[in-house]
Symmetry: C2
Subunit: 358 residues, 2 copies
């Protein structure tokens, strides 16, 4: 297979961890006889420094001409005082919209070997295997108006939660299809006792469910879901929800795993290239120190192979390698729990060795 992968390393540890993931992909290409071309583009703070904007047009073009996108992380203190619309995270929001990556998948699994590094007790998190499907291109993030207004003679402000039925339908279909390949259960999270958008969401979920008779649908209110993720995280198979609820709940759920350094994500496009990135941020405090955990980026590369290229064997290979090095006791400092830890490079190296092992 011959593919072009755009690599947007971004800022801080984004550089180090994507470098590791690219090395892993090269080894996979070698071993399974594929040809992956890596093309590098600018995003975030580095793009601001070099070109004055967080997402240059050439990066958009590069992404549109690629088969998939591997992203690091963006942002850092340095760019926090520039005007809002030029900040690193605006690059992120813009590329999501440009590429129409409407389905953000965030698997939360707790590796047995790491179950003790969670703030939750082992019996609550061991065996958690949940897929959060977050709508990524609608809702309060992009609805208009979003502006200051005057009301009753004083300053006021309005944001808009907007969805078209088709936008709700396609994300729900993604969730149901995901559930078919997993354990056949979808929890649709909304606030239907308050929001009209949630009531439409619930209606559409009921309709879509008719096309997936092998999948069981349940509805849950967002406040109840925020509790259930802690009280009984094993309850969930696929959790699907709108953009802002998904932002909050997926970050909450990420804590089950003990470290953000373990968690990959995919943002799937309707037809073009999809984006794969670790859940963690640019972590400026440890950037450039060869300390960052590359596993989230490497598992994101595995998701890329699986979801964009349908290379399941190759993806499995990476995931198995990660599991085996963890079982052997290799830990970066974020998951070392006071024990001895290895560098970013060393972790990449042992994962590559595990992939190459006969």
């Amino acid at each position: 297979m011959k593919k072009t992968i755009a690599v947007l390393q971004g800022d801080g540890v984004g550089k180090e961890v994507t470098a590791g993931a690219v090395n892993v992909l090269k080894v996979i290409a070698d071993r399974f006889d594929h040809e992956f071309h890596f093309e590098y583009g600018l995003i975030g703070g580095e793009a601001i420094d070099q070109q004055g904007v967080p997402l240059p047009d050439e990066t958009i073009t590069l992404c549109k001409n690629s088969d998939a996108i591997l992203l690091g992380a963006v942002g850092g203190e340095k760019w926090n005082s520039i005007p809002r619309h030029l900040r690193p995270e605006q690059g992120l929001l813009k590329i999501r919209k440009e590429l129409d990556v409407y389905a953000n998948l965030r698997p939360v699994t707790v590796q047995g070997a790491l179950a003790d590094s969670s703030p939750l007790k082992r019996e609550y998190v061991e065996g958690v295997d949940c897929m959060i499907v977050r709508e990524l291109t609608g809702g309060l993030y992009f609805g208009r108006p979003s502006e200051r207004v005057e009301r009753d003679g004083e300053e006021a402000v309005v944001d808009t939660l907007f969805y078209k039925r088709s936008e709700i339908e396609r994300i729900l279909r993604s969730a149901f299809e995901m559930a078919q390949k997993r354990n056949g259960r979808v929890t649709s999270v909304d606030k239907a006792n308050v929001l009209e958008s949630s009531r439409l969401w619930r209606e559409v979920a009921e309709e879509v469910a008719k096309d997936y008779e092998d999948v069981k649908l349940e509805h849950m209110l967002v406040d109840a879901a925020a509790m259930q993720l802690i009280r009984n995280p094993k309850h969930f198979d696929v959790l699907v929800t709108e953009n802002l609820f998904g932002d909050i709940l997926s970050d909450e759920a990420s804590m089950l795993a003990g470290s953000l350094g373990m968690l990959p994500s995919a943002s799937l496009s309707s037809d073009g290239a999809s984006i794969y990135e670790p859940v963690h941020g640019s972590a400026p405090d440890i950037a450039g120190q060869n300390k960052a955990n590359p596993i989230a980026a490497i598992l994101s590369a595995a998701m890329l192979l699986r979801h964009s290229f349908d290379l399941h064997q190759e993806a499995d290979k990476i995931e198995d390698a990660v599991e085996s090095v963890l079982a052997q006791g290799y830990r970066t400092s974020d998951i070392a729990d006071g024990e001895e830890s290895v560098s970013t490079d060393k972790m990449v190296e042992v994962i590559i060795e595990a992939i190459q092992a006969p």
Copy 2:
């Protein structure tokens, strides 16, 4: 002191637990020489059954003529299939708006004796003492439009997040005042990297902070807060946020305590009567079985004495009594962790004994 307290028992266990709280208040009145008059009103499912609406006008009048309101819980399966605008929770939303109870206070404390019943490890939750201040009468809950529309030839839907500057200012002031009486720290939670309303919120927070030089203000994004509540809940002193974020985060935070059965709340009005209620719902599955934990309702009564009547000694008395019976090992079934448990009535009885002890 002579006061009238409206009691809205509501549905399910709401009845049992408010009955317990009223008994405790009677004992306090006796011991400290106050006169409390209790006037009962209908709300929720029972109001629907008897009068066809979840919040009859006479209940509103009763509340407006009272000095404070003690509420149980509303809702249940039975009323889930009636038209939305007549459902029990609409009674709740309406009374909040009618009485303008804009400041919802939800203290989350983890009693040492119960630190092991949390899903989180003891070292994460022991000593947690956080006050969540949720804006309760604005935001997406009440903004208009909230309706179906047509867009690009298809069905669409819109909800509106709306705040006036004065609404933001008064809730922030409540938070700062709270912090002055506590540990002097306010965490203001928003989504300022995406929402215009959050940017105004942040501006107002900075301005208000100038009037409280003894209080330290920090800003935190809502997704980061959802993580921090689990990773390091002891980080927080006062957490203040808008209505929907507060709904989600306060329910998440409630899980730190192990059981909802322990958590009280207050919804403070700008000038009229305030509402005090347990955080838990009507729990129809255990209603009428003399099993519900009355502590949340009893601690809500303590908050009533403290915040509406300025009776701090009396409130302390109740809180100390609760702590002492827990230390003695009394547990209702929700917090018994498999050990022997006592009934609702017995728990109320031992708390009253502790109050009456010399």
